[in-house]
């Protein structure tokens, strides 16, 4: 599958592992439930380990473990569910997470600008056929009024 990462279309190198599926050798992501149940064995995994979160998950409980993950996948079951925008902000601004943050689910290109401002840097687009059409959407707006992950100073300090 192709994804957009840091504004480029690339082949995805990650596998999203079901809770029942056997652990494989390469990069994979797991749910929070699986992490909580099996973290002692999972920390020994030699390739990349990623964590999948939904807006229902208790973000703050995961914070002490963030260093174990090189990818956090935030799930948007419907693009109208905006909880994970706050998750991304907090992961970057408050908890200092430097790894990849990926949006997965009902991701249309109309959300890319906002998501990027909140610190999400990779995207599994809902529409794989039109993935290239999405790239210009990163530049829908040249400025934001607010303090964002990309621009930590609000516009009024730059005016």
């Amino acid at each position: 599958m192709q994804i957009i990462k840091d504004r480029e279309i690339i082949e995805d190198k990650w596998l999203h592992l079901d809770d029942e599926a056997e652990v494989i050798a390469g990069n994979f992501t797991i749910s929070l439930a699986r992490w909580q149940a099996e973290h002692e064995s999972l920390v020994k995994h030699e390739s990349g380990l990623g964590l999948r979160l939904t807006g229902e998950d208790p973000l703050e409980e995961v914070v002490p473990d963030l260093a174990s993950f090189s990818l956090i996948v935030l799930n948007f079951p419907a693009f109208t569910d905006g909880r994970c925008y706050s998750f991304a902000r907090l992961l970057r601004d408050r908890y200092g997470y430097k790894g990849e943050i990926r949006a997965q689910g009902d991701i249309l290109h109309d959300q890319l600008f906002y998501m990027t401002q909140c610190g999400i840097n990779s995207f599994e687009m809902a529409n794989q056929q039109r993935i290239a059409d999405a790239i210009p959407a990163f530049d829908d707006f040249s400025e934001s009024y607010q303090t964002t992950v990309l621009k930590p100073e609000p516009l009024y300090r730059r005016r």
Binding site: D110, Q146, T147
Partner: protein, 550 residues
Amino acid sequence: MYQYDNYDQAMVDQRVAQYRDQTRRYLAGELTEEQFRPLRLMNGLYVQIHAPMLRVAVPYGLMSSKQVRKMADVSRRYDKGYVHFTTRTNFQLNWPALETVPDILAELASVQMHAIQSSGNCIRNTTSDQLAGVHAGEIEDPRPWCEIIRQWSTFHPEFAYLPRKFKIAVIGSEEDRAATQLHDIGLHLVKNHEGEVGFEVLVGGGLGRTPIVGTQIRPFLEKKDLLSYLEAILRVYNRLGRRDNKYKARIKITVREHGINHIRELVEAEWVQIREQLELDSKEIERVKSHFIEPDYDATAAADESFVTTLAEDTAFARWVKQNVIDHKVAGYKVAYISLKAPGVPPGDISADQLDLVADLADEFSLGEIRASHNQNLLLSDIKQGDLYALWLRLQAEGLATANINTLNDMICCPGLDFCGLANATSIPLAKEINERFDDLDYLYDLGDIKIKMSGCMNGCAHQSVGHIGILGVDKKGEEWYQFTLGGSSEADAAIGQRLGRAIPKDQVVDTVATLIDVFKELRHEDELFLATVRRVGVDPFKERVYADN
């Protein structure tokens, strides 16, 4: 008023381009109806019974004459030559074609207007007091703070997909003309014991199916902390607000389910983390305030003697002045309401020709600015008393001098079944009938302030639950019935009205209003206002008579 700089202008221009592309994708079949819906809503575009409806933001109700002329122009070229003002001081076009909306938005952007976030589950247009800056009792002009909030809330990347819509209102005086206690966040500029001005913050007010009066979350917030505190509330709400049931998704329900104390703890804990980063600097506050500095009022305005003469000579003018004109904080100046509740006209509607006249009058007599009020009327806020008569003559010639502000006929009324896809019952035709029944102005003045608010369904767009008399249309087996409430208020004494009793059939609605007024006249003490009488005697005397008659 605030003028866009290059940054502000780029933002609305880029929005037009973005929306043009979204519309193109939708029309080309690249976006489904379901995918397009939230996108068009965030640009104020609804799809109603007959046609789409475009809601355009009027930030804190303030418009320039240039903007008003553009509204007239757009309504002629893209719609049916009239616009409708809403209770949140926005205006609506009722008949635009979906394909032309990007062009309409481009026209509006040319005069610094937009439809950004005028609908959808995001932070909506911030509203305020229509007398901001011209009212004598004011603690501080709330408009610069509204503009600061407008910019912070515009395209806020974290809060574009909230559980539900989110409305903020700001006032700077003790009287509440903006229904702040019925907003998701209400901000009151207040003075603390040290004489410093800051904000009292209310949260969790709202109307609709579950009307709730807001609760104080913080008695005093320093001005520099405004944005960090708002951001803290929004972040807590974005994470905690219910997403499983849209009728339980407003912050009023979050507050009710978790309790104000718990919400306050969460907000304050979040706030301390972001307070410093989001602190407003005085440079920015001064930059925005510089757009709202007091004009050079004419010190000789009060010396005019013609005003007193015309008042004595023309009783119709005197009547209009008594009902529609109020004092300005500067001697010799007046504030005039232009009633959009003329008999036979749907409440809040104004034609393109009338808009042009209002723009001309604003240029000639009132510093080129026009204001919209929560009650769906317009105002000219800075008129020399010596100019009032000339102004009134011109308003009268265009049907804009109806002297009924705050009377029973100054109704708030939703579009109802005639336009709206959600409505269960009609409202505009009933408003017209009430207007016709109470057509004697002297009788209306004698009754004093009575706020009737009528909605065609329980979404409550006309705020019936806070009407002195609230009328709610309900559907009973395909027939239109109306549920009455009494004693509500959206002002400083905010309260949710009490139910009168069982719903009333459509053909008895006007008679019921008349009965309520009869009972009031019998029970009122001298010049007591309707609301005071209802609060003193309760709903029972009204109930007995209404249901005895039926």
